[in-house]
Symmetry: C2
Subunit: 200 residues, 2 copies
């Protein structure tokens, strides 16, 4: 019973995974409202009946998919928080982890901020909290340590971590890759700008 989750998945688990994977692919490229359940079932190779056997509604499917992804990201990014090293080294680690994610996984992070307003408060709150736990909270802990150790100027750690996330988001996308180069170059740019600013 306890080990059932680690051996071969059941048929039910496999179709559920197929549905979630299809939903991920579609929600990344199109708006929530523009992704129909018909598109999801077609992409997943099931029918309406199959989908609604596993998920009670389109909204729950979306939320489940997102929460599962964010929990995975949280576990991954937590390694950078628990790592030894300077504030800059730890921020570099978490940013590199993020930049080297597959594009679909990166884009998914933007969905939370994009679609957060279309849900009402029981589900909305879950999504916000899961996102906070997965990324901003972790960065905030690194930033707080940085301030405590004198590496960063005193200031509001939450605002600083949001600022850092915002700077990272800038170097995602096609133009930044052309202008700055590979992951290392973009990573260096973000860190230099965040730590030392743009002044000469």
């Amino acid at each position: 019973m306890a080990q059932m989750t680690i051996d071969t998945p059941t048929r039910s688990e496999m179709t559920e995974a197929r549905i979630i994977a299809a939903a991920r692919r579609l929600f990344v490229t199109r708006n929530y409202a523009d992704v129909t359940t018909g598109m999801i079932t077609e992409e997943a190779g099931v029918t309406k009946g199959g989908l609604y056997h596993h998920f009670p509604s389109k909204e729950r499917l979306y939320v489940t998919m997102m929460l599962r992804d964010l929990e995975g990201k949280r576990r991954m990014f937590s390694r950078a928080v628990e790592m030894e090293g300077t504030c800059r080294e730890r921020l570099a680690r978490i940013t590199r982890d993020f930049l080297e994610l597959p594009e679909e996984d990166r884009e998914l992070t933007r969905l939370v901020r994009r679609d957060i307003n279309i849900f009402t408060d029981p589900e909305r709150d879950k999504l916000v909290r899961a996102y906070q736990r997965a990324l901003p909270d972790l960065i905030e802990r690194i930033v707080t340590d940085g301030i405590a150790h004198g590496e960063l100027r005193p200031g509001n750690p939450r605002i600083l971590s949001w600022s850092f996330v915002a700077l990272v988001e800038v170097v995602i996308g096609e133009y930044a890759r052309e202008a700055l180069g590979d992951s290392d170059a973009r990573l260096g740019h973000v860190l230099d700008l965040f730590f030392h600013g743009a002044a000469a």
Copy 2:
């Protein structure tokens, strides 16, 4: 004929303005798909017939509303570009102009980035270009001057201007107001972070 636009507006122009104002109010708070034409007509005090007499579709209404707003912003922000002074002073001016805008006007700027993916390329391109002209292009010109005059380190001006916009967006919203204080404090925070970074 040529001066007709500056004296008392016609009935047609007034209802058109009412419709656009209603659409603005609604689109800021709700998703594009979640704002129905019925809600717009109710808010504007007209009926479906009235709305579709002035606009051929919901999409065109949205685009017209947005383009009109962005053109106004472009004219306003252009004053900071044409102003004399250091790079920091000019960036301060444009940022202050932005921060002191009514909340609805500020939020509207975020709509472009939020809803840009739901339109297809003839209209989508118009929106992107109008937004570029209204804000990032102007900041890029200031940043380019700053690099030329030795105030900023050499670097890609477009990436830098996007970074600046991203930092400004962080200090919008309720939490930043509580944590940092009034417009002046938030403005100072953004400028300090952009010019000198967060390092001690």
